[in-house]
Assembly symmetry: C2
Homo-oligomer: 451 residues x 2
């Protein structure tokens, strides 16, 4: 039976408006308890039995469970926290007053990811209203720390494995519809290791005239960095590439058949005449997905203001993030980095871990994946574009895979598009992107009920 | 005839108090006109015929001329501007309210160099009062931009060469008395070239997950820096060392006989167990003076705040200062740097000159130098400690040497000591250091009058 999409859209808009009025900025610890309570009420109101799950630290994750006609159990993941709003003066309307303008709803969190939460919830409410029950069992975990790297999610999962058991899971989703009309599904995400390198050579900054007889922290840091990555862009840490698994033949085929619709847009946004080594198309995507990176996210030493300061800086530091592919494990890479620096004579360079997440992916051949892909293609009338390993990092995936053992993916139920300005001022969802997401979630829940 | 040192000291304190009440911060363009007028009044009041000398830009330099009994003409150089006072909260008394405390006078500019200006002026006033005229002709130029690198001094000198003709000159002076009681004289200063290196690779900062396919400005800067200095601390710019003149035998002897009294203090202040390559004594001093340097004064790219920002920075920059020895000329070194970067494949790295000054020194054998050294040794009853080429930079020297051709040196008439906190909060002069400076200036003017 065809869903009343217009009515579900209206309900989703009502919900996203409610959610986006909460300034739930996890980096600032703002309104997290209030938002968790609102989410819990919304779930209760939609028929879920709810509770709040906690680790020793951090805000609660909201949990809901609702049985359905079929024994199939689907685990949904979302987060109710959002990014900070700075710089506030670049917003055209207040970030926590959702505003309809030119066919879009503007608010912090609208596309990342309160919009997706609202779509999922509106569909669930519509199905319950129509049938009195859901076609399948739905379990849902909605955390409050995704935007600060989900530091307590792994502990929450380990403490509540039984509550999270499921036959398949939908992570935070991908765009409901690419510019070429194809639905996008991501089956995995790179891992990450973020470290700070720090060098101190003097007790205090000194006048630069003594550089002939006193050591320089800045030059020392430059040397240490040169030992980490070569001019060819390759990581020089011994053993760094050893655990790297090549993409499988199926993954290579999926990449070759995936959508390249966003490549040109990205190139233009970055102001590049070409990507590194001129890669395009399948080669571009394979490299973006399957090549691990060692990236400098920041370097700082001495004085960087206007004019001249004649200083020999006492210390220097750099932050690096390594994006890791299966089977590079952050703990192992950190140990390799330390050993490499020591072996190269840089035992004076301190290394501090700032964060880490394991790479994780679901195989292309997984039956749950095949079913979700089938629904996405049927709803959109277009071949799915499949990302075997997305370049960003979603730390929650490894926790769900390791402790719960549930296959999952990022499905096309997120009403976003590349221009949605997630993490930036004037974040918004286009109203036109809500209907495809609604149709997909509706069809998927019904299809999974047909066991 | 013995001078009334106590009375001259009192007059010097009165003058330094007047001067230090002026917040003449050249970096902020504060109170420069008012201070120039105050200085001009003080000079007029001491018998000088005065005028203000200007370049097309910048504040006026105050000029004074006063004939004496002997035709010998001495040119004095000082500056009436001071460093900024930040961080203000680290001052124990307001920086522009001179305060006597524990035997020291605290104020911004007290030791750099309003104290020296006051000592010179108080001695001149006393000699005039005693004899009705000065023993020699004194010409004096007091500029207002020393603390921002004297950007207009060269033009002022070129426009006023005849006014500045002299038989000898005293630059801004050195400590009146080292910790071991010896007077210090500096006969030259290193030159300097300050540049900014800048690399831009993207139109905008990007998410670090795309580092596999987009270029990194930060890594590119690290590579370029590695091409400039090697791990051994040597500058790798082709031709950099070619113009370097070795110290002469006389200079080596002077270094061997100079005071090493401040070496240990410096080592402890920097928190070092030893200086580079373990140099001490004469080797330490020769290296500090005669080795040119390539120093990073600042590096900046991406995010360096607390926590993690997953960014691929669009741009990166570093500021370097090269301290140059005779005959390394800043223009030539800048050209060598550009050519070296191009040759090494870094034509994408922009180089901007931020400032420069030529190295300059007066020969140890110069007759004026010998006379000043003789007076310093007689007044202090101790052998002079002679610095043939001081590690810092005093850009005015090359202008005076090139355009006026006058020999000069930094004489021990500056009532400062190593702990005086020039450029830092709680700048001060110790009252005990004023008398030796007064005695020296008094004796020197009388001695130069005995032709």
């Amino acid at each position: 039976m065809e869903p009343d999409v217009a009515r579900i859209e209206q309900d989703a808009l009502r919900i996203v408006d409610l959610l986006c009025r909460q300034p739930s900025v996890s980096a600032e610890g703002r309104a997290l308890d209030e938002t968790a309570e609102l989410v819990e009420e919304l779930l209760t109101d939609a028929g879920f039995e709810t509770r709040q799950l906690r680790a020793d630290e951090g805000p609660a994750a909201v949990y809901g469970d609702q049985p359905g006609r079929s024994p199939f159990t689907l685990l949904l993941y979302n987060h109710y926290d959002v990014q900070p709003v700075d710089p506030l003066d670049l917003w055209d309307s207040p970030p926590f007053e959702p505003t309809l303008r030119d066919g879009s709803l503007y608010a912090r969190g609208a596309c990342d990811n309160k919009g997706e939460l609202a779509v999922r919830l509106a569909v669930i409410r519509a199905l319950r209203e129509r049938d009195g029950e859901l076609p399948i069992r739905v379990r849902w975990i909605i955390e409050g720390e995704e935007e600060v790297g989900s530091p307590n999610f792994d502990e929450i999962v380990r403490r509540n494995v039984e509550l999270l058991r499921a036959d398949g899971s939908l992570w935070e989703g991908s765009s409901a519809r690419l510019p070429d009309g194809r639905p996008e599904l991501a089956l995995g995400f790179k891992g990450m290791l973020t470290v700070r390198l720090h060098v101190r050579k003097l007790a205090t900054d000194a006048h630069s005239s003594i550089a002939a007889i006193a050591p320089s922290a800045a030059w020392r840091l430059v040397e240490a960095l040169s030992a980490i990555q070569g001019a060819d862009g390759g990581c020089r840490i011994r053993g760094f590439y050893d655990p790297v698994l090549e993409p499988t033949d199926e993954e290579r085929s999926a990449i070759a058949e995936s959508s390249f619709a966003e490549e040109e847009e990205l190139r233009e946004m970055l102001g590049l005449s070409e990507f590194l080594d001129g890669v395009t198309g399948a080669a571009f995507h394979e490299r973006a997905m399957f090549r691990p990176t060692s990236n400098i996210t920041g370097i700082s030493s001495g004085y960087s203001g206007a004019g001249i300061k004649t200083v020999l800086p006492a210390e220097a530091s750099a932050t690096l993030d390594f994006r890791l592919v299966p089977d590079q494990q952050p703990d192992a890479i950190l140990a390799l980095l330390r050993a490499h620096l020591d072996a190269e004579g840089f035992s004076d360079v301190e290394v501090t871990r700032l964060g880490s997440a394991k790479p994780a992916k679901t195989p292309l051949t997984d039956p749950f994946v095949r079913r979700v892909v089938g629904v996405a293609e049927a709803v959109n009338g277009a071949a799915a574009s499949i990302v075997p390993l997305a370049p960003p990092t979603l730390p929650i995936i490894a926790s769900l895979q390791e402790h719960v053992g549930v296959p999952g993916l990022a499905a096309p139920d997120n009403p976003t598009y590349a221009g949605g300005r997630a993490h930036a001022p004037n974040e918004h969802v286009r109203l036109e992107d809500i209907a495809p997401a609604v149709r997909f979630v509706h069809a998927l829940l019904e299809e999974l009920g047909r066991t």
